[in-house]
């Protein structure tokens, strides 16, 4: 397969996944805003979300100060902001368009239709319809994944789609947790609220029911964090994503990818054989930082070994 084709498939998948993860993060913040919290806690939550995404500077340069409404619009609808959901959906579609000969026409039509429909959303969307928008994003992402699974040939192409999907998802799960840990309203003193605040996070990750099934104890920050990092059977968990990443990387291995496969395996082993308490011995935030750095490194290596090296295009 052409390296450039693999590159477009990989980024098509990453942008789609990123749009979905952004929708989940916004969903978490949106639901939190419905809880009886002091207004400053809500603002801290939005600031923490922007910081964990690395978008705080860009946002402040444009808007000056954080308000729930402006943060939501910036992350969801802002067509000038390359990190917004609408721009991610557009980027996914542009990448798909570049390889529409490689993906099935069903996959292309699904992504194209998502983009066509996305054009009707914008900052004019009334407050009460914002939840619907987030639901729509998640639904289109589910649909697209289903169409990919249901129609694409099991060859290299789908491997690169999955590599993009799971690398992006692992990264986003860590960012979502990071945002929650940075938001002081979500940990520490106010224990009464804690359970509901972390419950909100679980719901945003479609994980609340799963949590109840696998963990019959009360919702605490550490338990939720452990679940979203370490469970191998949970679709959004980093461990699960690394399982997938490792096996698809092995399937496309070439002459120069040995070290990349090894590093992916090394990271996976931490989650597979490591103890959560030991990994987080110096704090959850520090561990999340380390994992993000490793994922970034893997992204660069994958680009160099298989795709169009970053910055070369």
């Amino acid at each position: 397969m052409l390296s450039r084709t693999a590159d477009h498939l990989y980024w098509m998948a990453r942008y789609l996944e990123r749009a979905e993860c952004l929708a989940r993060m916004l969903d978490a913040q949106y639901r939190l805003s419905l809880l009886p919290r002091p207004p400053e806690a809500a603002l801290q939550g939005w600031t923490a979300t922007l910081v964990s995404l690395g978008m705080e500077q860009g946002f402040l340069a444009q808007h000056g100060a954080v308000t729930p409404r402006s943060a939501f619009d910036y992350l969801a609808f802002d067509r000038e902001h390359p990190g917004s959901i609408l721009r991610c959906l557009q980027a996914a579609r542009e990448n798909a368009r570049a390889v529409r000969g490689t993906i099935t026409s069903e996959v292309w039509e699904t992504l194209n239709e998502t983009w066509l429909q996305s054009r009707s959303f914008g900052t004019h969307v009334p407050e009460h319809s914002r939840g619907e928008f987030l639901e729509w994003v998640k639904y289109r992402a589910h649909l697209t994944r289903g169409v990919i699974e249901g129609t694409m040939l099991r060859d290299e192409a789908i491997c690169f789609v999955r590599i993009g999907t799971f690398l992006e998802r692992a990264d986003n799960t860590t960012r979502l947790l990071e945002a929650r840990w940075r938001d002081p309203g979500g940990s520490g003193e106010r224990l009464a609220n804690e359970a509901s605040e972390w419950g909100v996070l679980l719901r945003a990750m479609s994980a609340f029911e799963l949590y109840r099934r696998v963990c019959r104890e009360g919702v605490t920050p550490l338990r939720v964090t452990a679940l979203l990092l370490m469970r191998e059977d949970f679709p959004q968990a980093v461990h699960r994503c690394l399982d997938e990443l490792q096996s698809h990387l092995a399937a496309v291995a070439n002459d120069q990818s040995g070290d990349t496969v090894r590093r992916a395996g090394e990271l996976h082993a931490q989650f597979h054989y490591g103890r959560f308490e030991e990994l987080c011995a110096d704090g959850v935030a520090a561990f999340l930082d380390r994992v993000q750095a490793r994922l970034r490194d893997l992204g660069c290596r994958i680009a160099n070994d298989f795709l169009v090296p970053l910055g070369a295009a």
């Binding site: 052409l2 450039r4 368009r97 000969g101 039509e109 194209n112 239709e113 496309v252 295009a313």
Partner: protein
Amino acid sequence: MLDADAQARPHCRQYWSWLTEQPRQHLAQKRAEADALFHRLGITFAVYGETAGTERLIPFDIVPRILPAEEWRRLEAGLKQRVRALNAFIADIYHDQEILRAGRIPAEDVLCNAQYRPEMQGIDVPGGIYAHIAGIDVVRDGDGVFHVLEDNLRVPSGVSYMLENRRMMMRLFPELFARHAVRPVEHYPDVLLENLKSVAPAGITDPAVVLLTPGACNSAYFEHAFLAQQMGIELVEGQDLFVRDEALYMRTTRGPQRVHVVYRRIDDDFLDPLSFRTDSLLGVPGLLHAYRAGNVTIANAIGTGIADDKSIYPYVPEMVRFYLGEEPILANVQTWILRNPEHRAYVLDHLPELVVKEVHGAGGYGMLIGPAATSLQIEEFRARIRAHPERYIAQPTLCLSTSPTFVDEGIAPRHVDLRPFVLSGREITLVPGGLTRVALREGSLVVNSSQGGGTKDTWVLGD
């Protein structure tokens, strides 16, 4: 479709009676359905000069153009003959130039032409074929006879619309195909791939064929992606290819892989920055070396523009006589060459009746349609012709035939042309059909999609 008394011609009678029975609302609904489908399928084209990323639909007319078997047979024979002569001409020009020595075409018209590529002189190409894919534009004049308006031998486009229009018609009106013996066109990609494989460098048994596109910003990108997918070959951009030791490779996830045949949809000028335009980012450095070494076939070959240039066009009938010893089956449209003083004098006296075209223009840009022009425009062209007569040709304003078309006012006549696609490999083939373009504005003669033209499905009927 209709004769002078507005009666359906015999081969269209059945369709016409069906069409006239359809309520207008039903047809409008079908047209809306087609538009929605084309949007969802992303069958769009980019318009140059508009905001980046603007994508538009080419309007699709749901009334097909219908050609009877007998008429197609004659057209097919004429097109094959013409393309055979054109290929012979290009081969001759880049080798012994016998036609120039015989004085049938003025040597300076060819050798001083910007489309003549001295780099090609003496290069042998597989099978002696240069124009593997030719899109020949034909129009029916007032006398009802097909004339060739233009030969497109560089990177002719539009075939994807021929295929998609048929697919759309079968989806919208399956019942019509049950009732009419419409000859199929969907095997075009298979024929094309076979042809491309057949011109691979000597000794290659399982050639790797790729389609080279300028990229997703090109106006015909949909077609490039579509054809690559239909043929099951890689759609590559210049950055995906490189030349090493006079051989062409593509960069893949498993390392470099040899490429033997390039179906290119990039103009000559951009193919190789080492040999042509040095600022081209679309091409492949060193491609011409690999080509000259005979390690890769480029289709269409470099330098085919010498045969489809508007200043060479008047000589094509002479080529048929010279190379094939036959009389041309298809006639040209009468053409005045403005470099010629007698022709020029006539044209300058008759500008309001004539169509003046730039020799190197394309896409319906830079032309004067005398009868539709203001006196100011005519004077402007007069000055331009006087300044650079060699840049222009003139033709009579054709009484282009019309075909019934579904427009806002209902079914109405609109002017059409036809571009069949002629494929040359081991033999010359064409699928029965082509791209019918239609000028949707009442009275307009310009069918180009960049100028508000639309397309129709083209039905060639079986015997």
